[in-house]
């Protein structure tokens, strides 16, 4: 297992190098002149030159790249001009917000989609199967910003049961002491029920928005994979042996149907991080997505590079975890590699 893990990590290195190079080059070919933007509305050409010099943008590209890599090796991702803070500090403050939201949405989605998919497969052609299809189609065809705005309109504006869409906490509540950066967990650790309630209430709508969006692929894959497994010989044998239906479906069929679901989950997680950008905008969520977009609009290189790098590392770690979890679910993989 350890050897596999080590080998896996080794293979991620070229991918990381690629990400560093590509993110550097991509931000350089973006239209827009950072110096002109930050020199302000009243800047003279000399002022713009001065800003350029200050930011090191007047040097040749290879030189800029060398500096970037040297800084990177010290864990320095540069300064954001839009927030005025070091990128590392910004990411550290904002990544937990995005991660909490994405995971919350994903777990919510799993809790609904997996049982729905299983039921749809077991009772194929029934009312629940059609409902599954309808929900999945609706969820995937509604853009997230639309679902988000609609939920805000209904739950906050019309029915008044949801708090104001103002980020992670009520304006007048204070954040729990940081341990994990996840407000739900931190507030529980601190036994701060007020903060827990407030952050859960704030998380509900954006979480539901993301969940609705990711429902479709998970439910569909669960259903398809369950159908395939249920028609296999071992399931027939299990049924013929008189095992209870519940045991057949949950213990034998579902475990075997999980592999494709896990793969899809990895994919869903990655596009949820993308969808996050819009949800964060709608709910004023202080996450990395809205941060990267704002930086992009201002052609502020450092945060964009930092964001791409952080995301790449996250994906790589995620894929690694999925690969490893395959082995846990299906021991046959262990012997073949």
């Amino acid at each position: 297992m350890l050897k596999v893990l080590f080998g896996r990590i080794l293979t991620t290195i070229p991918a990381l190098i690629g990400v560093v190079v590509v993110s550097f080059l991509l931000t350089r070919v973006l239209p827009g002149d950072t110096a002109a933007y930050f020199a302000g509305p009243a800047a003279t050409p000399q002022a713009i030159e001065e800003v350029k010099k200050k930011l090191g943008l007047d040097r040749p590209l290879p030189e800029q790249f060398r500096r970037y890599v040297v800084d990177l090796s010290h864990g320095d991702l540069g300064q954001s001009l839009t927030t005025g803070q070091p990128v590392v500090a910004d990411l550290k403050a904002r990544l937990p917000a995005s991660a909490e939201l994405t995971l919350f949405g994903l777990i919510l989605s799993l809790l609904i989609a997996v049982p729905l998919g299983i039921l749809a497969a077991v009772k194929q052609g029934s009312f629940i199967d059609h409902a599954c299809r309808a929900i999945a189609t609706a969820g995937v065809s509604l853009p997230v910003f639309f679902t988000g705005l609609l939920l805000v309109y209904l739950f906050y504006f019309i029915w008044q049961i949801s708090p104001a869409p103002l980020g992670r906490l009520d304006v007048f509540a204070s954040a729990p002491p940081t341990v994990t950066g996840f407000y739900l967990i931190d507030s529980l650790l601190a036994r701060d029920w007020e903060a827990f309630r407030s952050s859960l209430a704030q998380l509900a709508l954006p979480g539901i928005t993301l969940a609705i969006f990711s429902l479709a692929p998970i439910a569909r894959i669960t259903r398809a994979s369950m159908l395939a497994v249920l028609s296999m010989d071992f399931v027939r044998t299990a049924r013929a042996s008189g095992l209870p239906a519940r045991k057949v479906v949950m213990t034998y069929a579902f475990r075997n149907a999980m592999l494709p679901v896990i793969t899809t989950l990895g994919m869903v997680f990655s596009f949820l991080l993308g969808a996050n950008v819009l949800v964060e905008k709608v709910f004023a969520w202080p996450g990395v997505g809205s941060y990267a977009v704002e930086a992009l609009i201002a052609s502020d290189f450092a945060p964009v590079q930092g964001f791409v790098l952080a995301m790449a590392i996250l994906y790589i770690a995620l894929n690694l975890m999925i690969d490893l979890s395959y082995r846990l679910i299906d021991p046959r993989l262990e012997s073949t590699t």
Partner: protein, 539 residues
């Protein structure tokens, strides 16, 4: 706590959050809600110091409220009845007395004024701050120059509480320029302590911290999320502000900002689409105040160095083809001051902005275009800044539609906000729309930046005309000399020339729109168009 109880609590909390969240506000929270003003806006500051490199406009608002200047402006009644800063009348702020002579001005400082950390405000701090403003480069230095404040030698410490500013030349903008945001007074000892060899003016420190003597101080700043300001209880430079705490939250979605206002959760917002403001005004649940930008105009600019816009007849043809009223109705929802349709026969008043003598007259436009040698029109591109697409896009589409009627085919070129300034600086776009507004509300100031042959960045048309330069220089000289009649002559002259030669076509004077809860009063219009928290009252 045992597991069962924990789960029960967690469940109850979840249930509560699902059903009646807004009702579960503790009395402590209600108390702080009454003492707090919640402002929502699209974007927040990137720097708390206006002297910083690339400080954005929201950053100016922090500076205005957290730092004092030597002098400030009195209030008068504005166009829509609300308090409006008085360009002509100054009041002491950090100074208690101002003594103006022919070639200098002397300020006596308040003896009991202190910085947020308790250190007394001395003439030394004032000199250091003004020195910093004229030396750091970039926008602050540029703004100081506009009032002939250029060298550290101009600022002389007379004694601990007296400072003299020497004039380089007679300039009527010098005193007004001391009342803008830039010449703020900074706690020099505190900042010097936090300065480094690479950063002698301590810009890194003041970027994150407010080091002033102003009515408010920033107690928490989460970039891109919120700014929390608390009242400075020791403030002596004016009447004690009514609101103890300000929370300023960034809410990117305009729809949500409106929802927050309508639901009564937010107290103030000022960057909403015009359509929302019109609808909010009609619903009458909030107070909405609209004030025209002082000394600001949105215009259609033409590059006069290249054909076909090098021909004044072509420019006049375009000016007659612009669908002014449609722009007012469909793009702005009436929330702007029209800048067209003045009666012909020359400029009558020496004021700016004022309406140009153009109307939509397609027949006349066609005739002028034929006269200019383009009977069949031509093709060109019309550029705008995507950062302000909400207004720019409908304006450009309407202009495109109307220009097609006289044979001018335009392709619309949308330029991302980050790239807009670079494109403007290149001065290559043939036709574009843009806004210019000046802090100092004087016609010659506007014209110097926008029409003068010195070709500043704001002369986006690259317009050069010796007659124009003479009139602008004349207005500046006569203003400094106090010759009112000659001054007005010059102003009328250059406005007239700007209208007949039309390198840029005035479209409208935009409004600053602000929406507040009915229990919030005391909004004042300032030249910088940001909020002054000191005057706001929440009942």
């Amino acid at each position: 706590m045992d597991r069962r109880k924990f789960l029960k609590n967690a469940g109850a909390a979840a249930a509560a959050s699902g059903v009646s969240a807004p009702a579960v506000i503790t009395s402590a929270m209600a108390q702080s809600r009454a003492e707090t003003l919640l402002i929502v806006s699209e974007s927040g500051p990137n720097n708390l110091d206006i002297h910083g490199v690339g400080t954005n406009v929201p950053g100016y608002e922090v500076s205005w409220n957290c730092y004092d200047r030597l002098i400030s402006h009195e209030m008068k009644t504005g166009p829509s009845g609300q308090p409006y800063y008085d360009r002509e009348k100054f009041k002491p702020e950090l100074a208690e007395d101002m003594n103006l002579s022919k070639d200098s001005v002397t300020f006596k400082l308040r003896k009991n004024a202190t910085f947020h950390d308790g250190a007394p405000v001395t003439a030394k701090d004032v000199k250091w701050s003004l020195d910093r403003a004229v030396s750091v480069g970039g926008f602050p230095t540029f703004q100081m120059k506009a009032g002939s404040l250029e060298k550290p030698e101009q600022f002389v410490v007379v004694d601990d509480h007296t400072i003299r500013v020497d004039f380089l030349r007679p300039d009527r903008l010098t005193i007004p320029d001391l009342a803008v945001i830039v010449p703020c007074v900074i706690n020099s000892e505190l900042v010097k302590k936090n300065a480094t060899a690479a950063d002698p003016w301590g810009l890194e420190y003041t970027k994150q911290n407010t080091a002033g003597s102003g009515a408010y101080k920033v107690t928490k700043w989460t970039p891109g999320t919120e700014v929390v300001l608390e009242r400075n209880e020791a403030w002596v430079s004016g009447k004690k502000p009514a609101i103890p705490r300000i929370i300023w939250r960034m809410v990117p979605s305009a729809g949500n900002r409106r929802a927050l206002l309508e639901r009564g959760d937010a107290d103030i917002s000022y960057d909403l689409p015009n359509k929302d403001f019109v609808e909010l005004k009609e619903s009458n649940k909030l107070s909405i105040i609209s004030t025209p930008y002082s000394n600001g105009i949105q215009y259609l600019g033409m590059n006069v160095t290249k054909a076909p816009f090098d021909n004044p007849k072509v420019r006049q043809a375009v000016a007659y083809a612009v669908p002014y009223q449609k722009i007012m109705d469909a793009a702005l929802f009436g929330l702007s001051k029209p800048m067209f349709g003045a009666s012909p026969g020359g400029v009558k008043e020496a004021v700016w902005p004022q309406a140009a003598p153009y109307n939509t007259d397609i027949a006349k436009a066609k005739a002028l275009l034929a006269e200019a040698g383009y009977p069949n029109g031509f093709e060109t591109t019309l550029s705008f800044d995507l950062g302000f697409a909400g207004i720019n896009e409908p304006v450009c589409v309407l202009v495109q539609e109307s220009l097609a009627l006289i044979g001018i085919k335009t392709t619309i070129n949308k330029i991302p906000g980050a790239n807009w300034r670079t494109e403007l600086n290149k001065k290559e776009m043939p036709l574009f729309t843009n806004v210019f507004s000046g802090w100092l509300d004087y016609p010659e100031y506007f014209f110097f930046w926008c029409y003068d042959g010195s070709n500043s960045v704001f002369n986006t048309m690259s317009y050069k005309n010796a007659e124009m330069d003479k009139l602008i220089a004349g207005a500046r000289a006569t203003a400094a000399a106090g010759d009112k009649a000659a001054y007005e002559q010059n102003v009328k002259g250059f406005v007239d020339l700007a209208f007949s030669d039309v390198p840029r076509i005035p479209l409208f004077q935009p409004y600053v729109n602000i929406a507040m809860q009915k229990n919030v009063t005391g909004y004042q219009y300032w030249f910088h168009r940001r909020l002054d928290y000191r005057a706001l009252v929440k009942a």
